[in-house]
Symmetry: C2
Subunit: 206 residues, 2 copies
Amino acid sequence: MSTGPGLLFVVSGPSGAGKDTLVEALRERRATLRYSVSATTRAPRGDERNGEHYFFVSPEEFELLRDGGRLLEWRQYNGNLYGTPCDYVEESLTEGYDVVMKPEVNGALAVKAAYPDAVLIFLVPDRFSHLRERLLARRTETNEEIARRLEIAQQEMKFIRSFDYIVVNEQDHPEGAVRDLEAILQAERFRIHRYPDDSIRRVESS
Amino acid sequence: MSTGPGLLFVVSGPSGAGKDTLVEALRERRATLRYSVSATTRAPRGDERNGEHYFFVSPEEFELLRDGGRLLEWRQYNGNLYGTPCDYVEESLTEGYDVVMKPEVNGALAVKAAYPDAVLIFLVPDRFSHLRERLLARRTETNEEIARRLEIAQQEMKFIRSFDYIVVNEQDHPEGAVRDLEAILQAERFRIHRYPDDSIRRVESS
């Protein structure tokens, strides 16, 4: 009784909630999980590598992808363009791999519109006040950018009811959230609506 | 951000699918999970103990419970009465424990009617033909009873769409189904509808 092709998991939430670290830990634990690499026009930070953390593209290349309908979702943020190329996602799902992506909240909603079957997980820090600490700690944004991100985060919380799950990332126990995410990835496979009628008939008659 | 009181998990499926062994393994792995002991008028089998596997009661005691509205669901099967006393379930949920029960399929549907929030898991053997082997192997039923159970099992499969999850119990890898059940128990806690509005507002403002 196969559950069919792979499942699409969208981990989103306010910037600074800890998405990057958790998704990386998740990928290390599940060999059948592929990461959907985003395209962006922003410059690489720290040791970010092209094709691994992002596809770093020029504004012209980005527009070519977008206008050709090859982006699942896209958006402008802090003057840079971000988007999710759909080819890799769709190929992986068809081959039976699960795919995880971590777009911002608006992007997650766009993905759900394109793939109603996608599983949307909202990641929140255990206290909202920790967001500021995390953003400061990573030292990649100016104070103005941080203030702006916090304001956006407050707005994003309003879309929480469009998600399927809420997972709390506890500052002092990040391994807890990794375990919770892994349970969701595992459990979703068995939800009744993922079994097409013919797979159930096969069980009945086997 | 608390998800509130405990969750109720109902593991059901055809007789012989392996519910007893799996639920027992699950209880060993989760200290916060309580087992809802059923009442029955049938005689104990093998080393079954009163108050642990079942409450073994007389037909008169059973009727007293049932007519007093103290059974969540009840039914007659092979000439015996079975039912789920509700007091222990409700006390445990209120105290924040999760509760697992393993009624037959009709009972599971009755529990869902009483507790729409209950999580219903349908357990099936990897092959329907294994049901007969399992029933024969446990040597507790006559051939006529086994034939009757198999017929009932075929009927029960028709209610599979009323359940929330399907878990396949592979004959040769029962530990897989235990892990799957555990993932469901863990993941259900984070489903968006389990977060009341005020808990989400607390996150926003913390």
